[in-house]
Amino acid sequence: MKPLLTTLAAATALSMTMVPAAFAQQEHVDACFVYVGPANDGGWSQAHDVARQKVEEHFGDAVSTRFVESIPEASSEGAIERMARSGCDVVFTTSFGFMDPTLAVAERFPDVKFEHATGYKTAPNMSAYNARFHEGRYIQGVIAASVSETGTAGYIASVPIPEVVLGINAFILGAQSVNPDFSLKVVWVNDWHNPGLEADAAKVLLDQGVDILTQHTDSTAPVQEAAARGVKAFGQAFDMIEAGPETQLTAIMDTWDAYYIDRVQTILDGTWEEQNVWLGLEDGILSMAPYTNMPDDVKALAEETEAAIRSGDLVVYEGPITRQDGSVWLEDGQIAEIGELLGLNFYVEGVDDQLPQ
């Protein structure tokens, strides 16, 4: 490893003689993106790609962007390295599984900046960023409990990771703030994007008596299914109103551009620094699609809830909160630690499912 490091160090030293500081102001930034799925998967990766296009629009000629799509997490290090070597100033790697490969490449390319989404490891030239999607889920829970007649919602979940568990808990907490007896049925499809299976899960949940659907998977199939059965649903990642004009209540939209534009600007300014951030509604990294298809009082309640979260008056994970097994998790007024939330793997009370341990 040594000779490589010395050559790299020499290269760094050389560039430093030409440019006074390692992270100096730049005229132009080449921003690169690595996606885990197709750039137009209609969900996670597409949200990042839409944000990438907005970065281009925003900066015009000062910024160019490139991306590489459908990179399997299992063999991503080569692709990330190819990006780093091809002259990128910053590489955004947009899937949790890219964390260690990104870190490895970041160590080899100290001049390139790396930004990794939804992980927790950082380095002097590698930041971590994530969005507090559960803030949106809480609002959805509030709406669901207000409009549901059966008092039960169905949750189509992807894979059991802390982020998804956080979302399920936030949803039920929001719902319980309106109706303490509200309950939630969960189906795991063990996939992020599988329209057929998501539709099946939607039908199964509806057959078991839920009258509101929400999803943490990427396709519009559950919204379409809800529309076909005349019940209400929430969109995911995008405004999915087209899939159910009379069905969608609101959607959590991934609006990464707020973050990307910010970060690219710091590179242009020469002020980029390593950070580990978990941003929320107030930061614009996620936003809510218009509140539709609900009575005005519910809409008002939803807007109120959103405003309270934005202002910090309402914290989703603030006690009293009881675990699913009935034990106390957070005392009245106690706020969960970020570290605990990031690794959360238990349900709160009211979820009609058991989490694999």
Binding site: V187, W188, K203
Partner: protein, 304 residues
Amino acid sequence: MLESILLTIATAATPLLLAALGELVVERSGVLNLGVEGMMIMGAVGGFAGMILTGNPFIGVLVGVALGVALSLLFGFLVLTLATNQYATGLALTIFGLGLSGLLGESFIGRSSVRMPVLNIPGLSDLPVIGRLLFGQDIIFYLSILIVIGVTWFLFSTRQGLKLRAIGDNPQSAHALGIKVLRYRYLAVMFGGACAGLAGAHLSLVYTPQWTENMTAGRGWIALALVVFASWRPFRVLAGAYFFGAVSIGQLHAQALGLGIPSQLLSALPYLATILVLVIISQNRRLTLINTPASLGKSFVPDR
């Protein structure tokens, strides 16, 4: 609720049934086409594109079928005319189809569409429990049932069907008897492509009216499995497809009930059940040996 559950199972089973029926005929002629997934995804993108461009879902179905046939002809040219290895060609066809459908479908992503209309059969569709299941469905469902009956009749009650099976068992003898082996096989392969295309169109027009990349999600492989599962008999394909559909819907119900079984175990159930049933079926050696096309997967080049 029961009616609704049965409908859900029928929807899940129909694309599997269609693709498997097509492959059954192909395999009965002695050709193994592992490219079902590729043809199916082309059918899905074709169906959706046709619907969006013309606004008519029926034209969509035709376009989907046409693209399925087109891909099957490419396969046919390679394995029949050029006698390439069927296993490798089928796999390459799947890679090609998945890529090409992604390329063709790029502009259709995110477009919303009209679901295929339901054709109620007057009087019958109001029957309790089975009414909507059997008589209140879309045209592709009815077609899938008709094709089961049609394929059974063709294979076991017509001269052409007999010839096709003879070709599958021993193309050399069939050729010696003056049967045009390659012509039969071409037609069989095209039928397989049409069925896979129809199955794909069902996915993008009925099952989930949308187009997204890789939306077949491995159903082509399940269809291949069902053919063997059914020991090359059409009505057993019907049973197998609905059995598979029932198990995969059933595991979701078990999850929604919150029984606390690891979801991965439940997700594996359809595959484990398939293996189990297969073992039970194949224990009956006579039955499987009679039905397995003896020349399956082997190239045939007529000597002239």
